[in-house]
Every structure is written in C-alpha cells, then in structure tokens.
Symmetry: C2
Subunit: 379 residues, 2 copies
C-alpha cells in the first residue's frame, strides 16, 4: 500500500527515546537507575533521594538532599480552595479518576502554569509530587466520612502519606516498606504512561497536562491497574491449600494470570525479588502469612509450569501483598503506583524538554478513496 514500512504493533521493540534514567536488561533481570542497581537503592536509599537521582542523574550531597526535601515538604498542603474541591467530590468516585482530575486542576492554582524551562518544569513537578499524596489521602478520608488529616511537614514522603491516610504515624517497618515500594516503582524505561508523558510534553504543552495524561494511562488494566488484579485473584482463593488447584485451572484454561509476564522481562523482574522479601516480612508482622503463602505457591506453580516460556512474576505480583499488609484498600493500589511514578514521569519530561522533537508519527490509511458525498435523499 505504502512505501513506508509499518512499525510493529504497539511500537514493540521500537526505540522512541533516549534516557539516562533507567536501564533494563530483560534477559538478565537487571534494572538500574542512573547506573545503580535497583537492589542497592531499595536497600540504602530513600524515595526522596531516588527522585533527586532520577532528575539530576547523580546522588545528592547532604545539603542538596535537605534542600530538595524541604522544597517537597512545602508542597504537602494543597493550595487554598483545593481542599473544598476534594471534599465536594462524589464519594463513589474511583481514586484514579480523582487523582487525574485534581492533578489537572492544580494548573489553575499555579500563577504561571505553562512555564516550561528546566527550573520551572522541575518546580511544577515537585508541586505535583508534593500534592498528589494529599489528594489521595484527603479523598480517601472524605469518602470514609472522616475528618481530613492535614500533612505533617516534619515527616518523610512515605511517613506523611500513611499518616494522612490513617490518622496515626506509621511504624518504622511500615514506613520503610512503603518507601521501598515508592523507590521500586519510580521509573521503568519507556512504559506506556512514561511514553504518554513524553508524547504530550513534546507539543511544548505544560507539566500538568503531561502528568495528567500519564495518570490516565496508568489506570488501564494492561498497565498500573494490574496490581489490583493480582489482589482480586488472591482474594478468590479460599485457603492456601486451594492455591495450586486454582492456578493450575487457570493455566489449563489459558486464562490471563495477573502479575506474571512482562513485555520486557524474560526472567524474574528484579523488583519482584525485592518486593518478595518485603512482602514476606510484612506478612509475618501483620498476621497475613496466609496471603503470602498463597502468593508463594502461585509463584512456584507458575515457575514449574511456565518458567520455560519466560513467564515470571512482575512488579505487580508481590506489590499486591505488600500494599495489602500496609493496610491499603484495593482501589488505592494503582494510585500508589502513580505517586511513585510521578518521579519517573517528571524525569522523562525534563529529558524530553532538554532535546525536544514533536512526536508525530503517521497513520496508514486503509479505507477507500475518492468517495462521493451522497445526498441524503440518495442514501
């Protein structure tokens, strides 16, 4: 039909951007942020430091980290007028629709929302990163009919979010577990929502538009929505003893099994390895051993049956158990993914703005040509 070769569907395998943020070797199961193995970061770093790393391509000195953290904490509270926009929302709304809408609305409380130079873009990204947890926590308390818990700027990102959500300060283990989840989900190559961010900002639109679009992408069940699917599956299995039969049934019926397989990884997702130890420990601490045991059996059966095909647990699989143990409701799993990934989206946006070219691919027209406009009376 055309002289132009079509790209593979879904642009699979097509390199559509350069990055200095995350490196993924899907065969070997390696993930690095700015060259540092993900396991090193989840063991030693914090979410705040990781975001600094992604945005600046190096680890901060103490004074830089302090400044970055203070700058972020200043954004914990919502702009005047925004709180009422949260508490006037229908309580039945899905948190991802809430987050997308209210992140979008932040532009209207910014006196210069469209500024796109490096400093301004980073400032607006920090704005979104600081406000987003508050939006989610306020909405969750609003729908539960509880008083809002205002942010505490003496707390870290992870501590403060759990505090606003639950009304009490989290234990150290909980806060650290949540912080690690945030580190692990922060960036992952040109996944769909990150690609969305780059596509939108490439029109030289604004930070709010780009991140709003990314949240919309992430909520899809083929992307961030998958961690909810894992939890639903675990809830369908009555006891640990039923886990093997349940999963064998799914394999035999060739059902999609949530939390397994990934376009990129052909071995175990390195984030799943980290999350597995975390989930195990948290499950013991919180009396959720059953849940962890079910997950572990599923992983073993899957490896035995489908490991040879390169179908292994992905990041969603053990994050479901982890989030459940932290006490998060099912429909907050994907928003948690979003809170963390704002770090990655913003970093890619900064890279795109630094060397921008409008994304404008071609569509192949496959219909008829030169058709007449047939008058209504002749149709």
């Amino acid at each position: 039909m055309s002289a132009v070769a079509s790209a593979p569907k879904g642009l699979e395998g097509v390199v559509a951007a350069e990055t200095e943020m995350s490196f993924i070797d899907g065969q070997k199961g390696i993930l690095e942020y700015v060259g540092i193995p993900i396991g090193e970061l989840s063991s030693n770093s914090t979410f705040e430091e990781t975001v600094f790393l992604l945005w600046n391509k190096r680890l901060p000195k103490q004074n830089e980290l302090d400044e970055f953290t203070q700058n972020l904490r200043k954004r914990y509270e919502l702009p005047k007028g925004m709180e009422q926009r949260v508490t006037s929302l229908p309580k039945t709304a899905e948190p991802m629709h809430v987050l997308r809408t209210l992140v979008s609305s932040l532009a209207m409380y910014d006196s210069d929302p469209n500024a796109n130079d490096v400093d301004a873009a980073q400032d607006k990204a920090l704005n979104i990163l600081g406000h987003a947890p508050t939006i989610v926590a306020y909405f969750d308390r609003h729908r539960r009919g509880l008083d809002l818990v205002h942010p505490d700027t003496s707390l870290s990102f992870a501590e403060n979010f759990l505090y606003m959500l639950n009304g009490e300060k989290p234990t150290e283990t909980m806060a650290r577990a949540f912080d690690i989840c945030m580190i692990l989900h922060a960036d992952h190559g040109l996944n769909n929502s990150t690609f969305t961010t780059r596509v939108i900002i490439s029109t030289l639109s604004d930070v709010y538009s780009a991140i709003t679009g990314a949240i919309g992408s992430l909520r899809g069940p083929l992307h961030g929505g998958a961690n909810e699917g894992v939890m639903k599956m675990l809830n369908e299995i009555p006891t640990v003893d039923d886990a093997e039969a349940y999963i064998m049934g799914k394999i035999q019926r060739k059902d999609k099994i949530m939390g397994f397989g990934h376009r990129v990884y052909k071995t175990k997702d390195p984030r799943a390895t980290d999350l597995q130890s975390l989930a195990k420990k948290l499950a013991e601490d919180t009396g959720n051993q059953e849940l962890y045991a079910k997950s572990h059996i599923i992983e073993q059966v899957m490896e035995r049956e489908l490991g040879a095909k390169g179908i292994y647990p992905n990041v969603d699989f053990y994050s479901a158990t982890t989030y459940h143990c932290i006490g998060l409701k099912l429909d907050l799993f994907t928003p948690m993914f979003a809170l963390s990934r704002i770090g990655g989206w913003a970093g890619h946006m900064l890279e795109q703005l630094a060397d921008n070219r409008l994304y404008r691919p071609k569509a192949q027209y496959v219909g008829a040509h030169d058709q007449p406009y047939v008058a209504m009376s002749d149709r």
Copy 2:
C-alpha cells in the same frame, strides 16, 4: 550500543497505527474523511453528520442522523453537581486547563466510567462531545461575571455553543461558519493528540482518561496552541501597510512564523483553502476586512519568499481570522479546536479498541552502568 535501530526523532515517518478515517496526501494537498474530499464535506455536511461518518465509516441515513443528533443533544446539559464545579473555578484559569480538568471529572459522574466495549465507549465519547461545549461556555460566562446560559436542545452543536457563549442565537452565517470550522478540524491522521488518545486507551484505560490526555497534548504551542499564536502575530501588525515589512523582518531573522508549515503538508493545507474563503466572507460581514487583508498579504509574501521550500499556510492560519470574526476571545481558539477534534480522538479510540495492542516502545539507555551506591559521607 544496541542491536535495535532507533526510530527517527519524534517518530517522524513511522507508521504507528492503521485508520479508516482520514487520508492525507501532503504532496498534493489532499485530505479525505472516509474517502470523501474535505471540501465536499465542508460544503455539504454538518459537524454532527461528519462525526457520525468518522465513527461509523459511512454517511448516516436520515433516521440514523436524527437518532445520533438527539442522543448528542441529551448531553448538552452538565450532570447535576458539575455546574458548581465550573462556577467555583478561579476566574483567571486558562480555558484549556479548565476543559482538561472538567472533562476528566466527568468520569466521576458516570456510573460505569471504565466500560470499554464499543457501545459503551461510543456512549462516553458522545457524553464528552455533548458536555465539552457547555463546560467552555459556562466557564467563559463565569469568568466574565455573567449568568450562565443553559443549552437549548432544539439547536445544532454549532448554534447551541454560540448561543450559550453569547446569550443570543447566532446568525445563520455565523453558525454555518462555526460548523464548517468544526468539520475541518475534526480529524487529521496521527497528529500528536490523536496519537496520545491511542497510546492511553491501549492500556485499556477509559474514554475519559484518553480524551483528557489528548486535551493536554492539544494545548501545546507546537500543536493546537498554534492558532492563538497566529492571532497574536496579526495583532502585532499595526496596519495593512505594515504587513509586508513585518513578515519580511521575521523571515530575515529566521523567526518561526505561526500558521505556516506542517510536518505533513508540503503544499497548501486543503483546510486552509476552505478557511480562507470563509475568513474572507466573514471578515466582510463583520467589518474585519483589515484583519483579512493582513492575513492575505502575509500569505502572499510567504509564498513568494518560502513557497519553494514547501512552507505554506496550515489550518491554523485562516482559522485565527475566522474565530476572531465569530467573536471568540483569543484563549478560546484552542478549546474550539478541541471541541471539534473530540470527534477524531473518539473515532481513533474506537479503532484502537477494536484491534488493540499496548503501545510500549523502548528507550535507549545512554548513561553509565554498574555504578556504586556511594554513602552520603563519601559524596
């Protein structure tokens, strides 16, 4: 570095989707919707019929058009509770931020916002198409401190919008001119916002997420925002006699000249041809002959100086004069583009859902590997 070949920057020339909606021949200056030349549609069709055509790949019979139109008119009024969300917005907000935010919020007033089968997706698209003009008109009256004018379901899409905006029914010429603008902007291959729609919906996310993302893309100055730039340029030229010197100055300084050149067209954009006649007539009817005369001189100078390089007027160039003559304020130009393009976005979304594959390209990592996590004390 890698065995994978990188795509051209901005995915230029890469075929990333198939469509049966619009066909563009940028060399010959042809644009067809479902095979029908755009000039035939702007002369004979209406926006409602054009949207039916794009979504169904055929012209409707009378009863089908009646049903479609009635179905759309039912959505003119906003859901209960939404009106207050418009009138509580900061009056200084930019209408594109308002439109993006409130289209996003429509999901929260839909009892089943995530349904994605063909019927549901089409229904939600109609919801957005019906509500979007009301959002824009309500906000514009709110910021002007005027009472809202509620929609009149006896009026066409074009008539009703101008009625809600101005508080009086438009003349036939005005309504027809606006309707033609809506037809001309409805679809245009895989432009950035349409691509955004497809990328987002490919995660099997929802219609509200996809269209919200597209609005964010369209507001960028390299995309839908360009028509505002044309008007600003025209306003910078004091009189018709200054037009040639002004534009020659820009050419000599190699400034970007808004409204000229297009990634796809290497000749005059066929939509610009249609808009030019429209702009000329409207300018005469509304006493804006100066404005049209300036535009016409700019086009002539540009053709003489840069026509050989394939730099010709694009759709933004004469739409600026047209919208100005209709009485639209500058910051409503891009929202008008959005109202129309919802038709195209939704059509592409329906095509994507019918044969979906997750968009998930690759990023080329260009940084260092295997870096240590250096302890804070050693940095």
